[in-house]
Amino acid sequence: MIQTENLRFQYQNSSELFHFPNINLSPKEDLLILGKSGIGKTTFLHLLAGLLKPTEGKVIIDDTEIQLLSNNKLDQFRGKNIGLVFQKKHAIQSLCVFKNLQARLFFSKSKVQNKDIESLLDQLEILEYKNSNINKLSEGQLQRLSIAMAVIHKPKILLADEPTSSLDDETCKIVIELLKQQAKQTQASLIVITHDHRIKSYFQNQINL
């Protein structure tokens, strides 16, 4: 489902060349990528999501070499096939919870019934905040919303960048379990990038950068 070959990346105005290991995930497979800060974890994730273009090498998602796509095509491809979960920023501030999900669907050109949005919110236990402004939610609730935003359009790949780093132990556990459960439900490959060792035990496949 997602595969990389000889992926290298160099930032402009920087002499450091990042080398990334080859990965190859089949659908529904999980992967945990561990590494210290500054080692290029986020860079790797952004390459996988097509947010950065590799200096060398390939990222192949569902038989598409995404580094070859034009910017517009890449935006569309990303919107449709990839779900991203971030550490802190979760959703658009000016919209309420429900409208965030609607906006998400609009931009990725996916069609999902309102009742399916509601049932997802229900699963993630944030249905009661449906019409709340997002800055009224707690960290844990926001991370649940973040997961909802990442899976609502049924992506093929679910990428999470430090999803648990700012959460307490209990919430951390809930969030990682929800993430795995949602990935399974949407049949997506899940890649989590973190330096948070608390979640090591949840993944069979692990790489250290």
Binding site: T42, H46, Q87, A91
Partner: protein, 464 residues
């Protein structure tokens, strides 16, 4: 959800910025439109209502007042002049047309102008329904008068004395509407036009009443003042009024006047009815004579001749209006510059509001990109946001200025229905709309620029 709704949600999420942007923009647009409307009304008055009138001849006094009264039908007349004298002037070969007008009465605040057939053609007036005036006490009315007073052909009305609506001093003579003019958007839309004889007949009636009271009195009654016949029974007051009449203090006037009176009495000796109309024309008075020249050199020579050699004055409408415009121009200019300043501030507010959104919410915009939004969609979103504010403000500006001008007009209108204000036309709003649009485009372009430069990866990595 769509891009429009996203923009609306953005606007809703920052009410204070939105309010300030809309408020300042509305204020500047309203001011600019207001100034524009006053200016174009003014221009319209000067260019259209002056029409072909090159010179106005009337009683001595303020030339501006004479022009305002006789051409724009706004002010009170300076007084009356002798029709006989006026006709002498009209014989000048350089004159193309000389239209006499006579004032004195109104109907519900709309002025009744006694004049000749040529009057309507000065303004390009054409009959919409009905026919031309054939005899005294027939009237044709302007389209505004017809609409506002709900008059149609065949209707009758009684005129009130003076130029201001009143119900105390109503004449007995019944006017009949025989025609209604098509709208000209000029001053005649708001006038009631009749024959000179109608005015004379209405006021002669008063004179005869007077004569019965004071057969042996002095000539003072001959000097009837159309406007100030308030009390016919009180002769003393009447002659007081005469004394007070500022236009006729001149001794020469009296001499000339007694001449006229002699003339008048001579005519009285005739019992012949045919002579009656002659008597009218010879001894009657008019308010002013509207002259247009066929030979443009007339403008240079005739006014001076009239001012020097007669007890009348000749005023040049164009010159008087230019002078008035120069007086008021400074005020217009100042307000215009203030309006431009506010407009600039409004543009700046819009820019800051949008730019701040783009900068502060860079992460949101980057998130939208990860959702599949293209750069073009993000730019659209910000652009729509800007335009929603601009169009709202423009709409509000138009509404606000309409209300303000209406209120001002109602406050200042008092009695006579001759408002100077033209409706706000598309051509008036168009240059201001264009200016606001250009300003909006500049503000929006400047604020969306960072989106083009946006590196989503960098923004997203900087979250921690």
């Amino acid at each position: 959800m769509n891009v429009w709704k996203m923009s609306l949600e953005n606007i809703k999420s920052k009410p204070l910025y939105t309010f300030i942007s809309v408020f300042t923009l509305t204020l500047s647009i309203a001011l600019l439109l207001g100034i524009q409307q006053l200016k174009s009304s003014f221009k319209y008055q000067t260019e259209n209502n002056l029409g072909e009138i090159d010179v106005v001849v009337g009683a001595k006094g303020s030339p501006l007042q004479l022009v305002l009264a006789s051409v724009l039908h706004l002010d009170d007349p300076t007084g009356n002049i002798s029709y006989k004298e006026a006709k002498k002037i009209a014989k000048n070969p350089m004159i193309g047309s000389a239209v006499p007008i006579s004032y004195g009465d109104n109907y519900k605040g709309y002025r009744i102008v006694g004049t000749s057939d040529q009057f309507t053609s000065l303004y390009g007036g054409e009959l919409a329904t009905g026919k031309k005036i054939n005899k005294s006490l027939e009237a044709i009315i302007g389209s505004t008068v017809a609409n506002k007073l709900n008059l149609s052909v065949g209707d009758t009305f009684l005129s009130s004395h003076g130029l201001i609506e009143n119900e105390i001093d109503v004449h007995e003579e019944v006017f009949t509407v025989v025609g209604i003019l098509k709208p000209t958007y000029k001053v005649i839309d708001r006038l009631i036009i009749t024959k000179l004889e109608s005015i004379w007949d209405v006021h002669d009636h008063h004179d005869h009443e007077n004569e019965e009271h004071d057969k042996n009195e002095e000539h003072s009654d001959e000097y009837k003042n159309h406007e100030e016949h308030k009390d016919h029974d009180d002769h003393e007051e009447h002659s007081d009024e005469h004394k007070n009449h500022e236009e006729h203090k001149d001794h020469d006037d009296h001499e000339e006047h007694s001449d006229e009176h002699k003339n008048h009495t001579e005519h009285k000796d005739h019992d012949d009815d045919e002579e009656h109309s002659d008597e009218h024309e010879e001894d009657q008075e008019i308010t002013s004579l509207l002259i247009s020249f066929k030979n443009p050199r007339g403008i240079l020579t005739l006014p001076r001749k009239i001012n020097q050699q007669t007890n009348m004055q000749a005023a040049l409408p164009k010159f008087e209006m230019d002078k008035l415009y120069a007086y008021t121009g400074i005020g217009f200019k100042t307000i215009t510059w203030i309006a431009y300043l506010i407009l600039f501030i409004a543009g700046l507010t819009i820019f800051i509001s949008l730019y701040k959104m783009v900068k502060d919410r860079a992460f949101d915009l980057a998130l939208l990109r990860t959702y599949g939004a293209s750069n073009a969609q993000l730019i659209k979103m910000v652009t729509y946001e800007g335009f929603i504010i601009v169009f709202t403000a423009f709409g509000l500006g138009v509404i606000v200025i309409k209300i303000i001008l209406k209120l001002l007009l109602n406050t200042f209108k008092v009695g006579h229905q001759q408002s100077m204000l033209q409706g706000l036309s598309f051509t008036d709003t168009y240059p201001i709309a264009l200016l606001v649009l250009i300003l909006a485009i500049i503000s929006i372009s400047l604020s969306v620029y960072p989106i083009l430069k946006m590196k989503i990866s960098t923004i997203l990595s900087n979250e921690k």
